[in-house]
């Protein structure tokens, strides 16, 4: 049975990481709270036997499974057109460099959702958690070369999605 101190250390060391992962997989902050708690609860039985240094990898796997189950419910939800319109509609309407943090995160999540899931995962680990490729390889359970090639594709695709489409000749307001 795990000592109190061990449980507290586990949360102190890994909760934020797991929570942010869940946020980028489509959970609202409140839902991410619950889902993150669920991840730790689910992992609890096995955690005390995991080797020191492998806890994060184990929790990561549990987080992916927990979020996969929930994502099926989220899948039907369309991207909120508002966030995408901020970028893709009339460029003059975009508040230059004044996008609120929550809007930025909403756009981040909407764009990530449009990537194939294995590309989105490595992009999040590289750009948001700022992990080296070797650590990403451990978490994902793939060779470092696979991580590198997925990252290249992920970055290219993400950048492309942020580009506005070719401006079509438009009169007045957008529809």
């Amino acid at each position: 049975m795990m000592a109190d101190a061990a449980l507290r250390a586990l949360v102190a060391d890994h909760f934020d990481f797991i929570w942010r992962l869940l946020r980028r997989r489509g959970f609202s902050p409140e839902d991410a709270d619950d889902a993150a708690q669920q991840v730790f609860m689910t992992a609890l039985q096995k955690l005390e036997h995991i080797d020191r240094g492998s806890e994060r990898t184990f929790l990561y796997g549990v987080a992916l499974r927990v979020s996969a189950n929930a994502r099926r419910k989220l899948a039907r939800r369309r991207e909120d057109p508002l966030e995408l319109d901020l970028v893709y509609s009339d460029p003059q309407a975009l508040p230059d460099r004044a996008v609120e943090l929550s809007q930025a995160r909403a756009l981040l999540d909407a764009t990530l959702r449009r990537l194939p899931t294995e590309l989105a995962r490595v992009l999040v680990l590289a750009e948001i958690e700022q992990l080296p490729a070797s650590e990403i390889a451990l978490l994902e359970g793939v060779p470092a070369g696979t991580v590198a090639s997925r990252l290249r594709r992920a970055r290219a695709l993400f950048r492309e999605l942020l580009q506005p489409p070719e401006p079509a000749p438009r009169e007045g307001d957008d529809a």
Binding site: D4, A5, I50, D51, R52, A104
Partner: protein
Amino acid sequence: MSREPAEELEQRLFDAGRSERPSSDARERAVELLLRARPVRRRFPLRVTWALFAAAFVGVLTPLWLRSREPLIGAERLPANGRVVAPQASATGRSNATGVPASAAPVQPEAQTAVTTRREPAVPAAPASAPLRTLADETAALARVEQALRAGKPAAALALLERYGRGAPSGSLAAEAGLLRIQALSQAGNAAAAGELARKFVSSYPNSPLVDRAREYLPATARDGGETDGTMVDKTGGVQ
């Protein structure tokens, strides 16, 4: 008004993602849930269980504690230096029995009772050369260090830390181990080394919940009554 280049927009989106944090409430609730979720076979209502614990604590552990005033691992006797180990005694009472940062979870009345009752945990004695394989091993090792300090055996505590240090602690437990080392050095009468380590602690872990406790060991100007070695301490607003 020009459109923001995709490159800059991208960086801003990533920065927004990086800066997001869960509330401390969410973290604390996770700890609470985990503590409650551990499989405990309860044949009695919780109150009866705690009553039994209390009785056991008084009736059994007191004579054990009295008998425990032997050197733990053959450490040489240290000169009693009359130093009141007030910071760690009160801090131990405040925080978890194994010194985990108090802010990791707000201490609920029930949990406080649990912590107090389990002040002398029955930590399984590990073989001297056992590697620290799991988090449970590591926290058990730190608990033994704390026990040594509470028993007034700083040399034993330092020896345990020496052994522990070979397992390269990481994460939040590294700060725990650091603070215990400071306390052990101080208790052993080595104020200079304790102060130096405290200085390093404060600069290495400025955001640690333990940093104020570490500051208590910094060379003080006036507070601890003449420990100063003439070094100026940063006036960061922390209480010296």
